[in-house]
Assembly symmetry: D2
Homo-oligomer: 371 residues x 4
């Protein structure tokens, strides 16, 4: 079964389109009717993808993506029918990619895609495997976030590390992070740390190198009881969505890998009563127990590998001749995809939460009876 371009069981997101094809698009099926929604909701998210403060730290492909919604809306509301959102590809210099047809770029999907599809895959710019395709997830995420907001749920991702530059502990509130995040070209709410991250990227770029980093994502106000064990556990489905974001190599919830070193008494979040309600006094579990949300903030962290495309010469092979060769990746590429990946991580979390809120029966199928 080759079909793997849909995710979600109630809020079903289907991605389509290629980096250097006509467009990138997404269908969302299962969104309740009666949600006020328009292209401007999506455009706002798309516009935030590119850090306008420092265009030098991202790819030169600075196309302004304009969303078109061609199905599923009527009179400014969702109708209950599938919603189709697309963005046209404009700046596509396909000639840049002739070189990679037979010589796969290390750490890209060029080789594995060629094997899988027998060489029929659209290899230009990575085709379906390009970071470009994450635009589809961002568009679906815009819808998911609007839907979640009707339930009071907010999702927020931000950068906590670029290469070896790491944001230390801070006491920033959700609102402060939300406010400061976009002041930073790398989406790091600790602005001075963000400056050091930018310096590191600029340095790497000069060297013909690239950097990775860590993105953290918080979801506030997810009620207790969301998630469907055993296999459709909330963390399991969040991880699935996050690992489908290109370049993500690790996912952890709450204390994550650190919890492996703790003792039970250190790792167990105690229950207590606060203002008459059951809460947890700490949140090392990251808001999920037994695959079900606990009512505490959902906290997830992902590792993003350094951009595979670097200007330095790399060893590879010529697949047509079955011989070793070298390659220097030309074309436009980001020295660090972390800033652009921040909204994608946010979108992956949002669509998964929207799916699970619907699955838990916490979102009505008709959002508001129309007069």
């Amino acid at each position: 079964m080759l079909a793997g371009n849909s995710i979600g069981k109630e809020f079903v997101v289907t991605s389509f389109g290629e980096s250097h094809g006509k467009l990138v698009g997404v269908i969302v099926d299962g969104c309740p009717s009666g949600l006020p929604f328009s292209e401007s909701d999506v455009q706002a998210e798309l516009d935030q993808r590119i850090p306008l403060q420092r265009p030098d730290i991202v790819s030169a492909r600075l196309e302004k993506d304009i969303v078109e919604i061609s199905a599923g809306l009527f009179n400014g509301f969702t109708t209950g029918a599938p919603i189709c959102m697309t963005v046209k590809n404009k700046e596509t210099k396909s000639s840049d990619y002739d070189a990679i047809k037979d010589s796969p770029r290390p750490a890209h999907a060029d080789y594995t895609a060629r094997i899988k599809y027998g060489g029929f895959n659209d290899y230009r710019g990575g085709g379906r495997f390009s970071g470009r395709v994450t635009v589809a997830l961002v568009m679906a995420g815009a819808l998911a976030k609007k839907l979640l907001r009707t339930c009071g749920v907010d999702v927020l991702a931000y950068t906590t590390a670029i290469g070896k530059v790491k944001m230390g502990d801070n006491n920033l509130s959700f609102t402060e992070i939300q406010k400061r995040k976009f002041e930073s070209a790398v989406r790091c709410p600790d602005l001075s740390c963000g400056e050091r991250m930018i310096d590191a990227i600029v340095e790497a770029k000069k060297e013909g190198e690239s950097l990775g980093g860590i993105i953290e994502c918080v979801a506030l106000n997810v009620p207790a009881g969301v998630g469907e064990p055993l296999f459709d556990a909330l963390d399991a489905d969040l991880a699935k969505a996050l690992f489908s974001v290109p370049a993500v190599k690790a996912v952890e919830f709450g204390a994550g890998f650190a919890s492996a070193e703790l003792k039970g008494s250190e790792n167990n979040d105690a229950f207590c009563i606060k203002e008459g309600k059951v809460v947890l006094s700490t949140n090392l579990a990251g808001g999920i127990l037994g695959g079900i949300s606990s009512g505490m903030p959902i906290l997830v962290r992902v590792a993003v590998k350094p951009t595979p495309s670097i200007s330095k010469e790399q060893k590879t092979v010529n697949l047509a001749k079955i011989e070793e060769t070298t390659l220097r990746v030309s074309g436009r590429h980001d020295p660090c995809v972390v800033p652009k990946a921040v909204p994608v991580v946010e979108a992956a979390v949002a669509v998964t939460l929207a799916d699970h809120m619907l699955r838990s029966g916490l979102v009505p199928r008709i959002l508001k009876e129309q007069k």
Copy 2:
């Protein structure tokens, strides 16, 4: 949609049963016909769950699980029909769990399950959320491993850390790991390190504490081309399966979190030619590029949190009275679930690989024409 007890799209595993109910079981639908399979294949896996060398480091619930296969086999072969495997629960002291009915154990699913199911969930021993239920996955894993072996694929999990005791780098081959693993009660192939892990567990137990750890899993001989991007990427589906294993809080592939600190040239695995074949000179990607296997070993690592059940007194709340209280978990519990989780991780990887090998068309639907 409450239904979440199945995983896989072609090799579909459905788990059922509770810790203190009549049985724990699994249905596997989609297994090709013609695979020689019997209860003894499963029994061998079940028998390895308990480290007989050191029963003191695991729960006192030392029941010998006897598998029964009640559907899907005929004349010693799979028939193409769903396969049903069950294990009866014998040693169930339900009275141990009266205390937790209203007072959720910290870091367990007691609270979240109660909210989700309105108090109707079988809370005895954690019910569906008990580690006991992983027996279902181990049984399905036995079938998956037998199926994978017809394609030459081998899956092997082992412990690399318990609490703060970590196995260092070693040059053990797959075969050596395979051989030594069961010599160690904690399933650590570095036997002297394994002894220190055991000491740490014994120490923790004395203190009324518990420990977590790290489990690594390797899959050998997975051909290039397995995995279905975008969303059914091989790493995405492996992560989903692994996060559905209780106590897993983090999953990483290859260099994982460490890759976030590397530069592109350090993290990119170069392609080269070896014996006329395209291979990668290193494997920091963990055998997966763009969600598709590269032909290199699949390498995944999970963090297991310390057992939530500890003898120490803990703060919790009484949900009936909405007041704070304390709790001391009685009943039988493992001071460290890592050794028992090793075969479960292996099974989670195996069922996912079996599913994806089938999806990739690499396993025939009839394994052998019967005479």
Copy 3:
């Protein structure tokens, strides 16, 4: 993808077991928690399968099936976990079936199953393809019916034709049909017509022949708005469930095939107001418009083919020798499966409606908060 033994998206029914294996069973995943349910609810349905009045018109295999529920219940309520129900096979004379190993019985699945599974299928008594396996659907149907009743929905199937004997138009109410149905060994609410049907079956049996018939099923009180177009239309999913019942060769809703001969003005059900509510003055649509329930009774009719097993000599082939031969089906078989198929049709409709009522958000995920 061989996996095809599950149906439903929210109320997910997985069938397993073979005619001459150890058992026949079913897992239902997705049932809300808090539904009072026990083995006696299922047993009542199982007991009605066999027309005790006239055991001579059914197969000699008069085993009393005793249900066992081994997972998913606690303290008399559903828990939200998967529910496992099984029935043991007792009277299995496998030797009866040696003859069919290589000589497929006409109109049975012997040949197609052999091709599909490469000869590994359990052919005894038809294995997975036996009418025996419908017990699984009846058990799941018992649960579905109990769930539907919490919403006031009632499902009722009955026989309207056996061979050429057809029940004429009648003005029987739902309640009258319900009452009379079981007075008739063939489940025909027109009792005198039922007697003629019995005579026809007895006659056919004498001749070494078999008969088919028509079963009608009505679902009352399904609210308007149930069904998910485009492809998961209510009629589409009902038809899928019904065609998966062995021997069903045709399905129609409302006027069905007859509507093809009507003019628009004859076939269109007019809307009108009755007691302040919108209703339809007629119900030629069978309660479904555009794949969505209209609030009128759901009305579906299926054709059941004559039992393939007949005592008369039939032409077939020897698959081992690839030569023509003849066969006389020995063993126990029903001269007419219609009476036994009535509860199966009812179950197929009930599980589909339960699934769609859940999908439409009309059944809460927790049926009642437990004290």
Copy 4:
């Protein structure tokens, strides 16, 4: 779960778009790579939808639909990525539909959709429920048919009845039907019968009436062994696809309803040997036994109800005022949708067969290794 706009498990078809929105489209995920395919393959199918010989017997909406494929093709071949095909809506007179906003047209989905989506549905021209949306299925069908042809499978639908005019038995071969079908404006291969059908439609139109009919579909060369019992039986999935075609009210295979009146010996197709191969001497089963193809032609028949839209005055209600009223459907509508439904039935059968051929492992995932 509102999401119901996808069908298929391996060849997954997702429909989107509305009658009076911007476009109607379809995504097909799971198509193997390496299939030569282009817009002209689809255009040929779209062009056949409208019987150019007699435009007077169809709706005045004679828009020429031009397909655009915007994803999933590269260098003239499928790539293995999702394929997106769309057709723009041009002739949309939305004003025609103001009247139906509150007054549902009898036998249309206006009322049920309004209830289901709380009035947010795009009611113009029936929105998602319009016959217009079947263009999506026809486009997916064009791809499915091209894929099936690589396996030698041919699918052919044609009209056998319009109202009371029925095509009698004939000995037309598949090739003759194929050739003559398009000579008839109503797609009836018996051309003189087709003329009488046209007369009946013209007559009905004059009266302000509409007619329904019967469409038969044959699939040739489907190998034995296709179909996945229990629930994903080939007939079950074909029926599901066919009932999701608007206006279909009945589906039968082979002898269908007539088989209910036959005796076993009459209905059982005997096996015999022909040219060294096992075949069936008759085909009353319609090519499917136990949900699996037998190697004989698949034969399915559907009843299409008369077009709900008629010019005659009809009784309905005003849903805003909850009072009875009358309505005369203005706007463009077909006096008989049967001719236009013929390619839709063909497409529904083709996509289901493509899905099941893939599921059975009978189509390789890469169709041809590219040089």
